[in-house]
Amino acid sequence: MLSVKALFTEYPNERGETVKAAQDVSFDVPEGKLFTLLGPSGCGKTTTLRSIAGLERPRSGEISIGERVVYSSGRNIFVAPNRRNFGMVFQSYAIWPHMSVFKNAAFPLEVASARVNRAEIDRKVMRVLGTVGLDHLASREATKLSGGQQQRLALARALTMEPKLLLLDEPLSNLDAKLRERMRFELKRLQRELRLTTVYVTHDQGEALALSHEIAVMNEGRIVQIGAPRDIYERPHNRFVADFVGSANFLEATVIGRDDRADIYQVQTAIGNLLAFAVEPLKPGDGVVISLRPEDTQLSAHRPDTLNAFEGVVEAKLFLGEFIEFQIKLGDMLMLARVHPSFSPQVGTKVYIGMNPEKCVAIPDDARHRKA
């Protein structure tokens, strides 16, 4: 459906340096799917979204939706944003304060090149407002809406034009935490029900994991990994992804050899030998980094009879309600462990930390590669 090929954008910043905002960004979004661009601020995700929207003109690349090319550097095509027929929800919602709720939502139909008659506008707008649950507020001034309602209105406005593609630029980042959680569910329900092809931009990994069919993690203008949410979380391809999506412990390691099981390797680390999982085949002597999520650790008072178990000392602990976070000292290393509050050893006591080999993901060591 949406296809972005080799997108490249650069622009000068305030100091006159060239910023490579997007480099070789390519991806496809199948019809009806929600695709997320995830990354820290300045990674190029918003530039990519704005290029799809037509609000920015990239240096080179090609963007097409179905059969229609909206941008191509090679053929010198650039369709103006107002002729692309993409719906967009902005980070600030961009609700026009001088119009009522109805007027805001009706605007795309009123300015459409194909004239829509009054009754038709009424019918369409009220249906969309109904979908987002704002039909009872249609005549209200837009500025009198709460944050969550403004967010829904922005969505309704993007939907009234029955867009081929929906673009969402951090739509939930301006809401408070509780409302954000609720809107997450609602957004997901709407997207799935209407089967809208959607590109979603966020820096919040929780949102990305919760909403997406597929996620592209971006860093420094490049896509570093594309995959389904579970893949991204459980099988990060590199240190950046493991670190940015969720939190992770990292252990530098050297491959010793293959285990009997598929994709499991024996590696040597500072805290001892352990078993780890790898997607790409590894050979003995390879330098890797083992990534382990804090919630994938098991703490116990007695040595468990599993593999990958080590003895450590509780260095510090934080009670966070749903769980407790421990810093466990293993030799010179500090490991982060997240466990249910039912197990709560004192600071300074001896504990055993167990790691499931499936969850210890061996990834290429970017840092060491760079040094070499």
């Binding site: 037509g54 609000l55 059969e67 090319v69 369709v79 600030s92 961009a94 304060p97």
Partner: protein, 582 residues
């Protein structure tokens, strides 16, 4: 199949691009052309003219450097320079001191009635410069001045206590006239300051005066400097006070000399131009420093988004003294001038208030004014000029400031500077250069109302730009982008999104320009001809003819009309400003 569809889409894209560019670039092009024409043309011809000899019936103008030679070598010019500097510096310091003291009392102390005072602070705007000066002549002239007569009566002497026809009198009148501006500028500076800075000084054990001197004033340094510069530039380019108070006793400054050079026979336009170029250089330096100051004020950045007001300082019993200062000030700049005009407007011929004169009250001056032959025409001219220039300026600058604020078109800073350029033109200099231009390029504009229209547009262009820019900066760019994403073309989103959101700034700027155009005198005085007089010119003519009581009657009516206009502005501002202030 797919290739065909793509090329069709491509063709459609190219065509739509062409359509989109069409109107957008036409509007932008026209706006830029208007600004460039109005801002640059007068400047260029002023320079050009300053190198020519006067044109007379027998002799054509010739190229010469004599104007500058004469302007810069004579002792006369040195005196002119010193007078101007003394006058402008005196006014700036006096107005700044008064304005700052009042602003501080109003913002930081618990002086009674200060809310009332603040809402009254806009009233001085309604008294045009020429009427203010005339009123102060009635009050402070050595022969007929009420103040002198009252004091002489009390003490039984013939001693002249006050004399407005002196450099100190000029500074006093002009300083009072500009002090509301200093008050408003310093109030804004005090309001934008983070109150925590003063509160922490208070907590460190500083007393009221130490806080005011060592924290409040020191932190406002950029604002103070900018305010003094503005006051200096405004007073060095002011015309009414030097012409009415200085010329009769031979105290000349640049503006009055320019006026005199033109009004002798043959007109010394070249000499006037070289004076004008000098004056322009002085004001340019002032405006340049002021703009640099406001663009790099970050070091002192005291702006915070915090909405709370600072704790006010308790003056104790002194607060009544402070209130008395407020009332005294208000008496000097509004009540006394207006009352003296009102008094003289009911007299058959001008006489000092007394029981005897009270019996001579008459409506004759008003009858005279209403039957004055050019009155209806001049009111009509003033209205047409004010409404027309305000509308054109606000619409043109809305496009200009959209380009400057919202786009990344290269060279947009140049456009911004170009539209701000008229700021350096004193009204008289602007009038002079426009006069020269249309005199030499006869396109049928000279001697018509259009030449004044051109002058007003040029003169008030920077104000329109400033009001629009303030408003434009508050419009989030996503508001416009979301209109684009909704399928709106540039023209549609400008008309339906940008202009409505700009409304508070548009309206405020429009009303301000209407008011200042109606009061305008300095540029009009060189450009009017029979049939194109405006109200302020009629007042000027009455003064020249010595028709003081008639002038007073017209002045009273004029002030009342402006007062209604200002109240209307306040009302409109409240109604539209607050709702869309987000």
């Amino acid at each position: 199949m797919s290739g065909l569809a793509e090329s069709a889409a491509g063709a459609a894209a190219r065509q739509s691009l062409w359509q989109r560019l069409d109107l957008k670039w036409a509007v932008i092009g026209v706006s830029v052309a208007i600004v460039a024409y109005f801002a640059l043309v007068p400047l260029v011809f002023l320079f050009w003219q300053s190198f020519f000899t006067p044109q007379t019936a027998t002799k054509a103008a010739e190229f010469t450097l004599d104007n500058y030679g004469k302007a810069y070598s004579s002792l006369e010019t040195a005196r002119l320079f010193i007078n101007s500097l003394q006058f402008a510096t005196g006014v700036a310091i006096f107005a700044f001191t008064v304005g700052t003291l009042l602003a501080w009392m109003n913002e930081r102390t618990n002086t009674p009635f200060k809310a009332l005072f603040f809402s009254l602070s806009i009233i001085p705007l309604v008294i045009p410069g020429i009427l203010f000066v005339v009123a102060w002549i009635f009050l402070g002239s050595p022969k007929i001045g009420i103040i002198n007569l009252v004091l002489q009566n009390w003490f039984g002497t013939k001693y002249v206590f006050v004399n407005v026809y002196s450099i100190w009198g000029m500074i006093w009148v002009e300083g009072l006239h500009y002090s509301p501006m200093a008050f408003l500028l310093m109030t804004a500076a005090f309001r934008s300051m983070d109150p925590a800075m003063e509160e922490s000084a208070m907590m460190s054990g500083a007393n009221i005066l130490q806080v005011a001197w060592r924290i409040t004033l020191k932190l406002s340094w950029p604002a103070i400097f900018a305010t003094i510069l503005i006051l200096f530039v405004r007073s060095i380019e002011s015309f009414e006070v030097p012409a009415l108070l200085g010329l009769p006793v031979g105290i000349e400054v640049f503006t009055s000399s320019i006026y005199r050079a033109i009004h002798q026979y043959p007109s010394q336009i070249g000499l006037a131009s070289s004076y004008a170029v000098t004056l322009l250089l002085i004001t340019s330096v002032g405006v340049y420093f002021q703009s640099r100051l406001s663009s790099q004020g970050n070091k002192y950045s005291t702006m915070t988004g915090k909405g709370f007001r600072p704790r006010t300082i308790d003056l104790g019993r002194w607060r009544y003294a402070a209130a008395a200062v407020f009332f005294g000030y208000f008496l000097l700049i509004v009540v006394l001038p207006f009352l003296v005009l009102l008094w003289s407007s009911f007299q058959g011929f001008y006489s000092v208030p007394s029981m005897a004169a009270l019996k001579n009250l008459t409506l004759d001056p008003y009858r005279f004014i209403f039957s004055y032959p050019t009155l209806a025409q001049s009111v009509w001219n003033s209205l047409i000029l004010a409404l027309g220039s305000a509308t054109v300026i606000m619409l043109v600058t809305s496009v200009i400031c959209w380009i400057v604020v919202k786009t990344k078109i290269p060279g947009r800073w140049l456009l911004d500077n170009l539209a701000s350029l008229p700021m350096v033109f004193p009204g008289l200099v602007l009038g002079l250069s426009i006069m020269i231009f249309y005199l030499y390029f006869d396109v049928g504009v000279y001697g018509t109302i259009w030449i004044m229209f051109a002058a007003y547009i040029t003169r008030f262009l920077p104000y329109g730009l400033r009001y629009n820019t303030t408003s434009m900066l508050q419009i989030h760019k996503e508001l416009e982008e979301s209109a684009q994403m909704s399928g709106a073309s540039w023209a549609t989103s400008f008309r339906r999104i940008i202009l409505p959101l700009l409304k508070p700034g548009l309206l405020a700027g429009w009303i301000y320009i209407v008011i200042v155009s109606i009061r305008e005198l300095a540029a009009s005085i060189l450009l009017y001809s029979p049939g194109t007089e405006v109200v302020s010119i009629v007042i000027w003519e009455l003064w020249e003819n010595g028709q003081y009581v008639e002038l007073s009657a017209l002045g009273v009516l004029f002030i009342i009309a402006l007062f209604i206009l200002v109240m209307l502005a306040q009302y409109v501002g409240k109604k539209f400003g607050i709702k869309e202030a987000r």
